[in-house]
Amino acid sequence: MPLDTSYVQKTLKQVGTRPLRPDGLDKVTGRARFGADYNAPGQLIALVLRSPHPHARIRKIDTSKAEKLAGVKAIITSADLPDLTNGDRNMRDMLENCMARKKVLYDGHAVAAVAAIDVTTARKALKLIKVDYEILPHVTDVDEALKPSAPVIHDDVFTDGVEPKPTKPSNNNKRASFGHGDVAQGFREADVVVEHSFKTEQTHQGYIEPHSCVANVSPDGTGELWVCTQGHFVYRNQCAALLGMDISRLRVTASEIGGGFGGKTHIWTEPVALALSRKANRPVKLTMSREEVFRCSGPTSSTSIDMKIGAKKDGTITAAHGVLRYHGGAFPATWAEFGAMTAFACYDLKNVKSDSIEVIVNRPKTAAYRAPSAPMAAFAVESVMDELARKIGMDPVDFRIKNAAKEGTKSSYGPVYGPIGIGATLEAAKNHPHMKAPLGKNQGRGMACGFWFNFGGQTCTDINVTPDGTVTVAVGTIDVGGSRASIGLIVAEELGIPYDHVRVVIADTSTLGHNDMTDGSRGTFSTTMACVAASRNVVKELGKRAAKMWDIPEDAVVWEDGHAKPAGSNAGNFPPLSIREIAAGAGNTGGPIAGHNEMVADGAGVSFATHICDIEVDPETGRSSVKRYTVIQDAGKAVHPTYVEGQYQGGAVQGIGWALNEEYIYGKDGRLQNAGFLDYRIPVCSDLPFIDTMILEIPNPNHPYGVRGVGETSIVPPLATVANAMSNATGVRMTHIPMSPPRVLKAIDALKKH
């Protein structure tokens, strides 16, 4: 029977409590095994040779000297990864990103790889590989890449979404538009119009664990891969496709993951390690260095955004229009679309339009980064909103409340909203003590809103009742930040057994059906949904077994508080049977007791947040520091509130880093100049105050417990929140992220000159 996924309000005994996480002990004692902690007997160490040029044709790769070096067991180039992608552009790009084919497209693009008996030998071998490059002109800036004079990176990319389709290739692979109403008319009706252009620089997810895998391909064509990933099933499917293996022959085991934030949703080194292992007939371990992580994994887009919003004096927005240019790195992508879809999602707008322009540049292939593309769009929208409120003389919170989307609003990207939390987060912000606290000298306060879609996706789960009545739950979604605790709580609640009687494990790819990766804030939402269904299948089976033990009809048994009970006095007078008693007798009543579920978890609940920030700026140096920060976000239902708070705090701080410090700096030579944590500075403990959180719970009607995703939305408002605070502190509108000290100082000096 399919699960009725509708939200049902009920008294909860375990969901919403804060038990210890099951993987905590292993992680505080050093026992937990992350990607690089795996080793296979007889393994080789692999290293990748990477392009020093941002754009060049590969004339020739000579590996002959390296092959002769003692201890080198395999060398591969693109010739060892033949194109099996059958016209699938996305897969071909993925293959080409793993190993350059005719051209290198960015600084750090892989051109060859070596597997050797140790790292010293592998390093020597890399130096012996000679690559003959024909250097080509390059472009790394999102606006420069759109100019007619820019070097065209792919000669087979013609802009989609333009009629008639261009006949000349360009670096703009797609355009699209979202919205409704008549924007031109709306601007004519406005009393005040504010318009600005914004730029945001490229940032990296900055997970502390570099990518690492061990690949072991056997001569019979089967293979195993141990890897840190947000989606081992997806990695399996993609690696198998690129290597021409049957999917069932590749077994992928996910390690504990040392942070991902979207950055471990793409394959880079895994097909390379598998190809090396296949060639060498030995296990191969391939770990990226931190420099490689920065240069050639998948950071986010840099952007260039034009934003225009008009309103009447009473605060009603009459029209909003944005043009959003996002780069996808060196390959076609659709990141600007996400920006365009999310930009105006917080508001109820009569006339709204957002245009997305996708741009290709000589930078690494962009990957998802926590609510991908939404923070930059929110930065532009919320900055203009703040200025508009000021110009019409309204409080910025009241201005947003007046225009906030609500249940029944047709969103700017299409769907009509069900029950949503933007209004509630704004009301909470308005009444929050933070809003009323006095500010000191050189301090400013800002606030802003953010939205993320959230996602459901394919999910497959097994629950097994062990002979002593404790339960194992096998899930296929990676735990990136405590989801095993949430899943354990939901299963314990459903079965009516203690939380510590439920053990949740992440199963390998040969044990469960396909699971989409942990992205789109789907981990807890989709997995708990499948676990509710699987738990109910378990309960049904437990009831059947009790009926058998009592010799009464199945429908005369009910399940309450972890026990089977007769449904009423007519059913018979039996003392309740515990799960332990039923499990102990399973061998005589039909064998092991289990529950399974597979589903597409539709109905992810959209998520909204409002943030408040106080910042202090030193007008002499432009240096700034966040003094107070508050996150207010709708969780739908916080299954484990402590870890929900953790998601809010972590997202906010990543956003603060993005707003103030973090940026990829490319030189004129197209090379990344700050590929390390010293020069790419993420926030440290001493940069920050405590991050206050407020969890609102507006149930998602499409989940039995009302759960929405919580992982991503928290990074959407900070760029704008911090920028509004900075603008209020300095008196000058900040339009370029990050607001690093030199940029702030320049803005302050420019203001003084006027």
């Binding site: 804060r18 210890l20 996480r21 993987d23 905590g24 002990l25 292993d26 992680k27 505080v28 004692t29 050093g30 026992r31 937990a32 095994r33 992350f34 690089a36 902690d37 010293t120 997810q205 900055g206 997970y207 502390i208 664990e209 570099p210 504990e256 993951i257 040392g258 942070g259 991902g260 934030f261 260095s289 931190r290 990136v480 930040g481 405590g482 402590t642 870890y643 708070e645 953790g646 705090q649 972590g650 906010a652 701080v653 990543q654 390390g676 944590f677 010293l678 993420i682 926030p683 440290v684 403990c685 001493s686 920050l688 405590f690 991050i691």
Partner: protein, 158 residues
């Protein structure tokens, strides 16, 4: 390759190993001694995930050579708990949810212990600066600072 023979003490145990002259202590721990609790986040001393103490001094083990630690006393995350009794920091990191992914956790615990050993009653600011050499990307540091505060209080019997 000429190796260096080293006798040292790790978590109270006498340990002997051979390593290359240019081999970081972190690689010795992880690759030669199977002690993978210390993590490599950067290999350049910027992230603190490989923090250990050598003769009581907090160091990034990626910046210390294996060849340098002859006769030293080294403490790593594997030695922090006393058998099955967790150090109060370990216990409080779990109970305060001071970890999400957990990759930075061993380094933070070692650094926090070194901090509390020197300064049993640190202010919030002293904790924040004391841990500024360790990067965490998940938590925003909030719950880490709170866990250290709670531990300081507990260990002082306050």
């Amino acid at each position: 390759m000429s190796g260096v023979f080293v006798s040292t003490t790790i978590n109270g145990d006498s340990v002997e190993f051979s390593c290359a002259a240019d081999e970081p202590l972190l690689d010795v721990l992880r690759n030669r001694l199977g002690m993978t609790g210390s993590k490599e986040g950067c290999g350049t001393g910027d992230c603190g995930a490989c923090s250990v103490t050598v003769n009581g001094r907090l160091v990034c083990s990626c910046l210390v050579l294996g060849a340098e630690v002859g006769g030293a006393t080294i403490e790593t995350i594997e030695g922090m708990a006393d058998g099955d009794v967790l150090h109060p920091l370990q216990k409080n990191f779990i109970s305060h949810a001071a970890l999400q992914c957990g990759i930075c956790t061993p380094g933070f615990l070692i650094a926090a212990k070194a901090l509390l050993d020197k300064n049993p009653d640190p202010s919030e600011e002293e904790i924040r600066f004391g841990l500024a050499g360790n990067l965490c990307r998940c938590t925003g540091y909030d719950k880490i600072v709170r866990a250290v505060q709670a531990t300081s209080k507990e260990m002082r019997g306050a």
